[in-house]
């Protein structure tokens, strides 16, 4: 049984104080004295999109290709002298200790330091009942059918009361009843059955065992409020916004779940949207047909396979895995009764739907392999009629930036708007007697407002360039500085290749000029390139020209290509050539990003120069890293959208102590396998290389593992940690300490800052490591990045393994520092840089290269 947990209100209570390691004290010296927070200032409206890409799982714009398409992240935000939260100098000394499992209160100590009051999208649930009683129910003679068992027990409500949760053998009741034996009558054959009910446990009402049926109850509440369950979330199609121009509907909805956290039971609510096409898949296909008759089938496969569709006749969603061009709705399938029936007839009979187009192909959905209950055969394939299905999501929207912008505009929610949607849900539950009663039956009572608590703010990090270091202004990043000052290490390029088609000649000229102008300030020397002007922009022209130049010219340092807009094929071909076949750093620039006014081109070129510098092995900026003998590793996995394709693990390990040199590997593994099998190999090679470079091995290894969902956490412990440890055996007597941190960014957790009238985003570096954290784990939420518009979604870090005894505070500080080191973005990013690098690498390899990149490139950030 669960030990009772009491919830202590967070506050600067007397936490155990631990001696502070020297490194951290040193750090504290960097922390500046800053004025105390003034009144909240309005945030400047600027490009709203980076924050939204994140919400959609899209990336911040990578510098290389899409530049100029969305205009996002061009550093347009004017310098903002916003209020900077006060940072305490002696953060280190005042910090709390590492929480341990056995702590008396079961809560984690609240880190002191600069605090900020933070609201979360959590609603506290008060359990008003004393207990939940668990019973074991047996039927004799045995009743096979679960439905019949349920029905028979239900008839005993005189004994059990109306309120019950029963799964067929275990019964939960809010009341205590004595052991009973009841007589019942089986409907099917009239046989008399005796039902024995015996109490097995008295549960605390917030017990983990109750969570599943609490969630069932809450689903019922949402249904009472007239919301439709689509997939796992609830939506209100009646409240849809329609974007007629794009035939899109946007449904508002909620993602809700009840979870137990350190601070007790919480309802987690997120205000979400679903995008759905208001035209059927059939008319999408007709549009494709009208546009490209010759490549119609390929184009359909490209656009439809992998996307998720909803059907006209039920609430279900299906992933399209294939298109069966040989089948039509006139074909037959077999009903459960064994009867053969055509699709046309079936939909007409059971759903009253007339299929109009009789010659459409059918969409194929392959259900996931599941362990079915004995005897039941799994359905092999699900065939769907395009006319009766609708596309969901944004699958093909990325192509059309205007559409993307418009859609984003509809979905954008400020913290205040997000908060209002949450409170409106709470109000609707309160105002519906039936919905409230559903919760009350189990003694569950929702708070009337969101959960508010104290977080602390990590100190601002000092950015180190070659000649000076500085404190970045809040929210702005250091775009200006990196464009005007020398990076830590600049690599000049003297022997390089410039490739472009003849008709883009003028762009090439502009580019060269701008490069010369900008490179000086950055301390990069740009020599005269070897120019290859192509007659046309066919793939073969590019490939042949590049190949011949690389073959004849010795030591080409890198190549720069200008390609026409929208030519992903050319991009792919160049990358395959330069990353796999003839390894050389390469930079591909989309022609569109070089068109526009000179100011825009200058900023594009500055970014290109920085990126090239990284690709050549240069180093842009750093932060102070007090931990010595440290190696930081980032890992992420890319799963292919098309079925049957292998997944790619991106692996990135630091090679110097200021964490500015990286060793990278990408390895393939079987489809949709989340366990990184090749970890041992990657890490031992990284360690070997580390030894060659530093003549010593790291004594602390901190691994940031991205792309793990909650149910998979155990596999990290069971499979990945042992693999990592095995790699240490490559060396004699080598036993470094290991920290493995799981990084979860698609969390539906939101932070709101409660200063002032309106809710706004909290400052960068806000951490919450209590109350909403998981019991028995060292975990925390860190908001490292700034979202210009939309809500602040912190990243969740779960420390799965910690033999270095790194305290929570140290881990938080290290993590925040790493969020400053992604060189593609002169600002903070939401995950540690090595994770972001690993992600970029895995994405390039999985999406474009489809081969392991050449080992020669493993010490350059060639994938940026």
């Amino acid at each position: 049984m669960d030990p009772p947990r009491r919830f202590c209100p967070p506050g600067p209570g007397p936490g155990p104080v631990v001696p502070v390691p020297r490194g951290l004290r040193g750090l504290a010296a960097f922390s500046p004295r800053l004025p105390s927070p003034g009144p909240a200032q309005p945030r400047l409206p600027s490009s709203p999109f980076p924050a939204l890409f994140r919400r959609l799982g899209l990336e911040e714009r990578p510098l290389e290709r899409p530049l100029g398409r969305g205009g996002a992240g061009n550093g347009k935000a004017p310098a903002l002298a916003g209020p900077v939260q006060q940072k305490e100098e002696d953060t280190g000394a005042a910090l709390g200790a590492l929480p341990t499992r056995g702590q008396a209160q079961g809560t984690k100590p609240v880190g002191k330091g600069a605090t900020v009051s933070v609201g979360l999208n959590f609603v506290k649930i008060h359990c008003q009942n004393e207990a939940v009683y668990q019973y074991h129910v047996t039927f004799s003679p045995e009743v096979e059918c679960r439905g019949a068992r349920l029905a028979m027990l239900k008839e005993q409500h005189a004994v059990t009361g109306d309120v019950m949760a029963f799964d067929g053998s275990i019964l939960f009741l809010p009341i205590q009843i004595p052991k009973v034996s009841l007589k019942a009558w089986r409907r099917s054959d009239g046989e008399e059955i005796s039902i024995n009910i015996q109490m097995t446990k008295v549960l605390e009402p917030s017990s983990d065992l109750c969570i599943p049926f609490y969630n069932v109850i809450f689903r019922r509440v949402m249904k009472i409020l007239n919301m439709s369950l689509v997939g796992r979330h609830f939506f209100e199609p009646a409240q849809a916004t329609s974007l007629q121009k794009y035939s899109l509907h946007i449904w508002p909805g909620y993602a809700v779940s009840i979870r137990r956290k350190d601070g007790g039971l919480f309802l987690m609510v997120d205000a979400i949207h679903k995008i759905i096409r208001s035209e059927s898949v059939l008319s999408v296909m007709q549009t494709i047909h009208a546009q490209s008759q010759r490549t119609f089938q390929d184009e359909c496969t490209k656009q439809l396979v992998g996307s998720v569709v909803m059907t006209r006749y039920n609430n279900r969603t299906y992933r399209v895995d294939d298109i069966d061009w040989d089948k039509t709705p006139k074909d037959t399938f077999t009903l459960a009764s064994g009867q053969e029936i055509t699709f046309v007839e079936y939909y007409s009979k059971t759903h009253g739907i007339t299929i109009r187009e009789l010659d459409q192909p059918l969409l194929v959905h392959k259900p996931k392999e599941k362990l079915m209950p004995q005897g039941k055969r799994q359905l092999d394939l699900v065939l769907l009629v395009p006319e009766l299905t609708f596309l969901t999501g944004l699958s093909d929207l990325r192509k059309n930036s205007r559409m993307l912008k418009d859609v984003m505009w509809e979905m954008i929610q400020s913290p205040q708007q997000h908060y209002q949607r949450l409170t409106s849900l709470l109000r609707r539950i309160r105002d519906s007697p039936e919905a409230s009663r559903e919760l009350e039956r189990w003694g569950l009572c929702l708070d009337t407002d969101i959960y508010r608590t104290q977080g602390h703010i990590l100190p601002v990090e000092r950015i180190i360039l070659r000649h000076r270091s500085f404190l970045p202004a809040e929210d702005v990043g250091w775009h200006r500085e990196v464009a005007k000052e020398a990076p830590i290490a600049a690599i000049s390029f003297n022997s390089w290749l410039l490739v472009y088609p003849k008709r883009l000649q003028h762009l090439a000229k502009d580019l060269l000029g701008a490069m010369r102008n900008s490179s000086g300030a950055m301390g990069i020397q740009v020599g005269q390139p070897i120019v290859q002007e192509l007659r046309d922009d066919r793939i073969e022209s590019y490939v042949r020209s590049i190949q011949s130049s690389l073959g004849s010219q010795n030591k080409v340092q890198m190549l720069l290509c200008i390609i026409p807009n929208g030519r992903d094929d050319v991009y792919g071909a160049i990358k395959k050539l330069c990353c796999v076949q003839s390894p050389v750093p390469s930079q591909v620039i989309n022609a569109q990003s070089l068109t526009g006014h000179p100011g825009k081109i200058r900023s594009v070129v500055q970014k290109v120069l920085l990126q090239i510098n990284c690709k050549l092995g240069g180093q842009l900026w750093g932060v102070d890293i007090p931990l010595k003998q440290l190696m930081v590793v980032g890992m992420d996995i890319h799963h292919s959208r098309s079925p049957g394709m292998r997944s790619v693990i991106g692996f990135v390990a630091s090679m110097n102590h200021i964490l500015t040199k990286w060793y990278t590997r990408a390895v393939f593994q079987m489809p949709h396998q989340e366990i990184a099998d090749s970890l041992r190999l990657c890490l031992s090679q990284a360690l070997k290389r580390f030894y060659e470079l530093n003549h010593t091995l790291p004594m602390k290894i901190v691994v940031y593992r991205d792309g793990v969902s909650d149910p998979q956490l155990d596999t990290v412990l069971k499979y990945e940690v042992p693999q990592l440890q095995k790699s240490f055996q490559t060396f004699q007597n080598y036993q470094p300490s290991l920290v493995v941190v799981v990084v979860q960014k698609q969390m539906s957790t939101n932070f709101y800052c409660l200063t002032g009238e309106e809710l706004v985003s909290p400052p960068l570096g806000t951490v919450i490591d209590h109350s909403v954290t998981s019991s028995g784990r060292q975990d925390f939420f860190l908001l490292a990045h700034h979202s210009r518009q939309g809500c602040s979604v912190p990243t969740h870090y779960i420390c799965m393994w910690n033999t270095a005894n790194l305290s929570s505070e140290h881990l938080q500080r290290l993590t925040f520092k790493l969020c400053h080191l992604y060189w593609n973005w002169p600002g903070t990013v939401r995950v540690p840089a090595p994770c972001k690098y690993a992600h970029k690498l895995a994405f390039l390899v999985g999406q474009v290269l489809h081969h392991e990149p050449s080992a020669q490139l493993s010490e350059q950030l060639f994938f940026l």
Binding site: R187, K223, S242, S278, N315
Partner: protein, 372 residues
């Protein structure tokens, strides 16, 4: 209450499809035949018949009534509109309502129905309720058609394990003669005609016992004119409404407007696309590489010709393309949705960018270039 259970498990006689499905199918066939607009199911239990009927496109009002609210609530959400129904609202309107109450009581919400079904209901009624039942259904509700089904007790010896009645809640089970005399008397009293049939054929050689389920279809003799006939109707509502769902429909201005705007915008884009690609053919911009434009088999030929007619021709002025509303109105989909040109203008007013005189849809040329 549990009218579907008992026959399914019989071992000697097994009905295929199950008898309850045959009863529902019988009602559905009846609906297809008479096309009633308003249908009520008395004793709707878990709403499965109502769920089947909601797909019948003639029905605009569906109501259910049951004495047990919990049974209705269990699956009532299956009667809610599906999310996809909002994407393409249907032409017909549909409202589904569930009431909690007894067939022995009159409530004005049950007036004006075309068809009332009482499937396996009457055998659950206490004697006192059964006495009031004809007056409530035939006298008060007075729909054009009433369907009543009930077990045929003569069939029971063929069913294994049926001791007295097929279900413990049954208050009686009638022979064919008993049912028919009750039905004929009721029909006579309230001026209905009745025909008898059933589902669940008896085994060969035993045809005499009749259908397993006996059904009476009552048709009102004199078609009433509206609701004028009954004078002393109680205005007092005694039923409790437990569920109500209004389906999105084009009859609702809000959805109609949405649909019209979608169609107008979509049509305008097609016309613009066509115009722009025509202009491109004449090579207005030597810098731009000719691109393959979506082909024009998009709309039928006769429409293309229609557009050429005067004052329907789209034109470019400055940065805008103007597409006359008359051209858009000539598209069959738009035409069918709006009916009249005036209605079209009214529906899109303020929602779509129009030229200053309101005669043409205005689109920006710029979009085109960015989209490609």
């Amino acid at each position: 209450m549990d009218k579907n259970f008992q026959e399914e498990f019989t071992q000697i006689i097994k009905f295929q499809p199950p008898l309850y499905k045959q009863r529902y199918q019988f009602v559905k066939d009846l609906v297809e035949k008479y096309k009633p607009k308003k249908v009520a199911d008395l004793g709707c239990a878990d709403c499965s018949l109502l769920w089947m009927l909601k797909f019948c496109s003639c029905i605009e009002v569906l109501a259910g009534l049951d004495i047990c609210a919990n049974v209705m609530k269990e699956k009532m959400h299956t009667l809610s509109p599906l999310p996809v129904d909002y994407l393409q609202p249907s032409e017909r309107s549909l409202t589904v309502t569930l009431h909690h109450g007894s067939v022995a009581h009159k409530d004005p919400c049950m007036l004006g129905f075309d068809l009332v079904t009482c499937i396996e209901l009457i055998e659950h009624l206490e004697e006192s309720e059964l006495k009031k039942f004809p007056e409530v259904v035939f006298g008060f509700m007075a729909p054009s058609i009433v369907v009543i089904s009930t077990p045929n007790s003569e069939f029971n010896p063929l069913l294994p394990r049926v001791m007295l009645y097929r279900h413990p809640d049954h208050k009686f089970e009638w022979s064919q003669a008993q049912f028919q005399s009750w039905a004929l008397e009721t029909a006579r009293c309230y001026n209905y005609s009745v025909e008898f049939t059933g589902v669940g054929h008896p085994p060969t050689g035993m045809e005499k016992v009749g259908f397993c389920t006996q059904i009476g279809v009552f048709v009102r003799k004199c078609p009433q004119t509206g609701e004028s006939v009954q004078s002393e109707k109680p205005t007092e509502a005694v039923y409790k409404t437990v569920f109500k769902a209004v389906y999105p429909s084009l009859k609702d201005e809000k959805y109609l407007q949405n649909a019209v705007i979608s169609e107008v915008v979509f049509t305008a884009q097609i016309i613009k696309h066509r115009l722009m690609s025509k202009r491109k053919e004449y090579g207005d911009d030597p810098e731009r590489k000719p691109k393959s434009q979506p082909s024009m088999d998009y709309f039928p030929d006769h429409l293309g010709k229609l557009l050429v007619e005067k004052n329907m021709e789209p034109f470019v002025s400055g940065n805008e393309v103007y597409i006359p509303l008359t051209a858009i109105f000539s598209f069959p989909k738009v035409n069918r949705l709006c009916g009249t040109f005036e209605k079209l203008c009214k529906l899109i007013a303020g929602k779509v960018a129009l030229s200053s005189d309101g005669s043409a849809v205005m689109l920006n040329i710029e979009h085109e270039n960015e989209e490609n």
